[in-house]
Amino acid sequence: MPQTLFEKIWNAHVVAQDAGAPAVLYIDLHLVHEVTSPQAFSGLRARGLQVRRPDKTVATLDHSTPTKDLHLPIADPLAAKQVAQLEANCAEFGVPLYGLNSERRGIVHIIGPELGLTQPGMTIVCGDSHTSTHGAFGALAFGIGTSEVEHVLATQCLLQRKPKTFQVRMGGALQPGVTAKDIILALIAQIGIEGGTGHVLEYTGNAIRALSMEARMTVCNMSIEGGARAGLIAPDDTTFEYLAGRPFAPQGEAWERALAGWRQLPSDEGARFDQTVTLDAGALEPMITYGTNPGMGVPISGRTPDPDALRDVGQKNAARKALDYMGLRPNQPLLGQPVDVVFIGSCTNSRISDLRLAAGVLKGRRVHPRTRVLVVPGSQQIKRQAEQEGLDTVFKAAGAEWRESGCSLCIAMNGDQLEPGQYAVSTSNRNFEGRQGRGGRTFLASPLTAAASAVEGQIADARMYTG
């Protein structure tokens, strides 16, 4: 029987399956960060258990860490305690940690791929819903809660029911000024934020094949915003070129062996999916969200909805509530909406290619006086590379702030946050109420749209700048 990429990975990782019970699924790589792990390590300690495979586990600090003045002690005592706790847990249980002063530190979903830890065919978990990012390599990667973090620490396994499969076929070719972020925002606007619930997505088609690894990660990153546990893209030469020579990638003969296995992974001709949806990438415009969940997206030239014109009562109420929170009128064009803050960062869009796109727009221009711009690279390595390319100079000359790596304004746990009522164009992945700070209002968009909006001080069409 022809098999999908998902089925091949799943079948290769089932350790045991008792009748009526979920599968015991083996985990090849467990990523850990400071926010969702302390209670899991406490649980291990309370049961007298060890970390079974510290050599398949890796930790970093990203969520509550400062993005400036790293040489100073962390000002927030709770964050400081959480950071110290992870350091102590990793030391006690022998888990490698990319700590505050490590050159390799960064957002957990950025450094896995960057270090070559993320590889095709693997199962990867992390106490973080955006673990779906790693699916860009053809790895089955999904977010778990803290109880499950403890399970994986203790046994390197998880109990899982097999999810269903959902193919997202993306044909055509992107127009200039339209990016991977616009693909995924358009998809979620179409299928809705629970469209993928219970499913693993596989993105296929020419438009996906044409994407760079970094762009594929942007797409897979937001699979969870469509309700899916995971998103997958079959590995191909683009994947292998990205991986070759990375520190933890196999070398020499081991590389050749791995490569032969990875080439077997793509879904077989005729493999069946439980669902399929088709989109034409060539028809896409840059996208932006107007509301309070990632499914509330429209083309940049579009308008907010008119709740009165919506038939479905649920949708009507949701649109009304969203517009009310956002302080927007029905039928209001998004272009021209004033913007207080622009955030370029997060595990969705803080890789070097994202920073290059944003710098391309900002080069030789100034940020509008009413707007504050924060550029937060996804890892210390990306920061270094951007500095070698002079991107930091472009950002600073334009009037943007250039920071150390971390989650920062994506989740607003580290002191970087919106003030109540402020409007932000953000390259991150969630526009939930208060996500970027209590009372803050978020428009999700691509790095190009974010940079163009920074220049104009209002939501802008980046295609005017990318000629």
Binding site: A12, V15, A16, G20, P22, V24, Y26, D28, L29, V35, T36, P38, Q39, S42, G43, R47, L49, R52, D55, K56, S64, D76, K81, Q82, P96, S102, E103, R104, Q119, M122, G127, D128, S129, G143, G145, S147, H151, A154, T155, Q156, R161, I193, E194, T197, G227, R229, P247, F248, A254, A258, N293, G314, A318, A412, M413, R430, F432, E433, G434, R438
Partner: protein, 200 residues
């Protein structure tokens, strides 16, 4: 974890759809290193914004079951969301659907995510809105909720998870008992990745 027995509890209506984990408990409360005390942070921004918000009303403390709109718990993987709901005093959430990770996290902590059909949901929501003292009975073993009018409605529940909840045991024991199978798997499929030594 305590075994879950049959229980009766009052309902609290929260009719919004797509309630995400950032609303259930905002990220700034995630800097804790234990699970206790999060009940105070439950829906804290909605409570601060509106003094009449249902969780600010005295009846909230008397309720044990939250009746919420479709796709409850979407968003992040934070287990702090079920910890906060349990900390506040809820034993179950009833909705027409739940986000995957939230449902898993809830079940791991003995918070029951109960899925009912649209019509039952509407009936429960109206009941909760009209009569704060109305109680329903949840019987996990039978997988039923019994409404005040005596009607019993069944709800779906994974059989394996149900046994765990009825016995009050978690999955760690089941998994650690598989140590031999895990060791065998590792021998056969070692995999080449080693995260150590870490790079400086």
């Amino acid at each position: 974890m305590q075994p879950i027995k049959t229980f009766a509890a009052r309902l609290l209506p929260l009719p919004s759809e797509n309630i995400d984990t950032d609303q259930i408990i905002p990220a700034r409360y995630l800097k804790v290193t234990d699970k206790a005390g999060l009940g105070d942070a439950l829906f804290t921004d909605w409570r601060a914004r509106d003094p009449n918000f249902i969780l600010n009303q005295p009846r909230a403390k008397e309720a044990g079951i939250l009746v919420a709109g479709d796709n409850f718990g979407c968003g992040s993987s934070r287990e702090h969301a079920p910890w906060a709901l349990l900390g506040f005093g809820f034993k179950a959430v009833i909705s027409t659907s739940f986000a995957d990770i939230f449902r898993n996290n809830a079940l791991k902590n003995g918070l029951l995510p109960i899925v009912v059909d649209e019509a039952t949901h509407q009936q429960l929501m109206s009941l909760a809105e009209e009569d704060p003292s109305a109680q329903i009975t949840v019987d996990l073993a039978a997988q039923t909720i019994t409404l005040p009018d005596g009607r019993a409605v069944t709800f779906p529940m994974d059989g394996f998870v149900k046994q765990m909840l009825l016995q009050g045991v978690d999955e760690v024991g089941y998994l650690t008992a598989k140590a031999d199978a895990i060791a065998q798997y590792e021998q056969a499929h070692g995999g080449t990745l080693r995260t150590q030594p870490s790079l400086s």
